[in-house]
């Protein structure tokens, strides 16, 4: 069940809320997600990233606005809102305006199928993960459009690099997702999590899935243009890449969606490989619904945020790749590895009739399921 349906059922017998149509609940949920989760989360993620960067580089990081600088992201957002919006005279105005819209659309719409908890998913599509791949790859279109429309050499190079990189790393990402789908046996995000349990996370299903999880994470890192794969916006060579000419709120949208996308990647990794809302070795499915749902959301968020922190850690530790090294890494390492994972997992499924390593160990120890 999706969140709008769940809310409608919850308020069925209420005097005023009961007569509202389903689409109204959908609208409320979407606006709630955008304003209460997406925007603040991206802001706080920026703050946390700057703090972590400070720690890693042995400095303090933001500490002026609010206690420990915790209100820094609000100040940043206000500053960007009050900045003058400049469209270069030579730019292609229509495409220049269109580009942030496409990026926002594709970056934010991915949140529709993220299963935060059992009933907390905006749209419980039966092709959820497929929709997610489709909608997130539209970001590449926005980036190359923005790079081209700016009529700036840095932007053009950044946009071209972004397109080549995202397009290349799309392959290992999609193949690793496919590997997880083989094990899960469904494309429905909620069902993928339900098919796992606190004792059987997909990542431990077989050795190939274990590799696939890492390949997915690395490739997804590159797809989101994060360091060490951030050559499209390499500040030391390309000023700022595809968003060189963007200023004020338009720039903020690029920035926002970068962090929003990072969370999507981590959330998908948590869903496909790390058991979604199932905590390790503790079965909470017996608890009452009002208690279970917040717990599930917390477990899911904990996993996703942990992966996000690893992402930030990687960003401030590793140096940047060169363009040809990056493409080599994709086509000569990650793609073959993900094919091996795919075929290996398929072979494992055929050989052991879908049983995973944990199930075999439990059967050996006589624990039942």
């Amino acid at each position: 069940m999706s969140l709008p349906e769940f809310l409608k059922e919850l308020f069925e017998s209420w005097p005023l809320l009961g007569i509202l149509p389903l689409w109204f609940y959908s609208l409320i949920c979407i606006l709630g997600l955008l304003f209460l989760f997406l925007f603040p989360f991206a802001g706080i993620a920026v703050y946390i990233e700057r703090k972590i960067a400070g720690d890693i580089q042995a400095r303090i990081g933001p500490n002026v606005v609010g206690p420990y600088g915790i209100l820094q992201w609000i100040a940043d957002a206000l500053k960007l809102l009050l900045k003058e919006d400049i469209i270069p005279a030579l730019a292609d105005k229509k495409l220049f305006i269109l580009s942030p819209m496409i990026i926002f659309l594709s970056g934010a719409a991915a949140y529709a199928v993220i299963p935060f908890a059992e009933n907390v998913i905006l749209a419980n599509l039966n092709i959820g993960i497929f929709y997610l791949i489709a909608i997130t790859s539209m970001v590449a279109l926005g980036l190359i459009l923005g790079g081209w429309a700016s009529n700036n050499k840095w932007s053009l190079l950044g946009g071209m690099r972004a397109a080549a990189q995202i397009v290349s790393f799309e392959i290992p990402v999609a193949l690793c997702i496919l590997t997880a789908v083989l094990v899960a046996g469904t494309l429905d995000m909620t069902q993928i999590v339900k098919n796992q349990s606190p004792y059987h996370w997909n990542i431990f299903h077989n050795p190939f899935m274990f590799i696939a999880a890492f390949v997915y994470y690395i490739a997804a890192l590159a797809e989101a243009n994060r360091t060490p794969f951030d050559i499209p916006e390499a500040d030391s060579e390309l000023v700022s890449g595809y968003n060189t000419e963007y200023s004020g709120m338009r720039f903020a949208i690029f920035f926002l969606i970068e962090y929003a996308e990072c969370f999507v990647i981590c959330a998908v990794a948590a869903t496909l490989f790390l058991g979604g809302w199932h905590p390790p070795f503790i079965d909470i499915s017996g608890l009452a619904l009002p208690l279970r749902m917040p717990l599930q959301v917390m477990v899911f968020m904990a996993k996703a945020i942990l992966l996000l922190l690893v992402m930030m850690w990687i960003r401030w530790t590793l140096p940047r790749y060169r363009v040809d090294q990056l493409m080599k890494l994709c086509w000569e390492v990650l793609v073959p590895f993900s094919f091996v994972c795919l075929l290996g997992t398929a072979f494992w499924m055929a050989l052991f009739k879908g049983k995973g390593v944990p199930e075999m160990i439990y059967a050996l120890l006589g624990w039942g399921s």
């Binding site: 349906e5 009050l82 003058e84 799309e170 392959i171 094990v183 000023v239 338009r250 055929a350």
Partner: protein, 136 residues
């Protein structure tokens, strides 16, 4: 099920409308005094030399074609992926047959991939340059 897609549609409409809304709020609040100098393209403080809409060596053009082939393959594999587990569990004994079919499907692509990588039989290797596709 269609109600779920309706939610996605609402999301897409809101997503398309959100950016103009934010920009409108910004337009009310922010200053605006354009200046011909301000509106020039950025080129590290220099006067911009020429435009950037020039003929451009697209290095990764072949990569784009490779991507298309691989992506179509992945898309075609997804229906198999969705039902693969069911086949493995219900069709006792036929699992390996299904696997062989999947492996054949992927194998054909892998031959092409090996070619793009420049892996040739040893006899041909001497006189041919490596295939340019993945020769970064």
């Amino acid at each position: 099920m269609y109600t779920q897609f309706a939610t996605v549609l609402i999301f897409l409409i809101i997503g398309a409308g959100m950016v103009p809304l934010i920009l409108l709020v910004g337009k009310i609040l922010r200053p605006s005094n354009p200046d011909p100098k301000k509106l020039t393209s950025y080129e590290c403080g220099e006067e911009p030399v020429g435009g950037s809409w020039v003929q451009f060596n697209l290095r990764f053009y072949v990569i784009a074609i490779l991507f298309l082939i691989f992506d179509v393959e992945v898309v075609l594999m997804f229906p198999i992926g969705a039902t693969f587990r069911q086949w493995m569990i219900s069709q006792a004994g036929k699992g390996l047959l299904v696997f062989a079919e999947v492996a054949l499907f992927i194998g054909i692509l892998l031959i092409g991939f090996a070619y793009a990588w420049g892996l040739r039989p040893p006899a041909q290797r001497k006189n041919h340059k490596p295939c340019p596709c993945l020769n970064f």
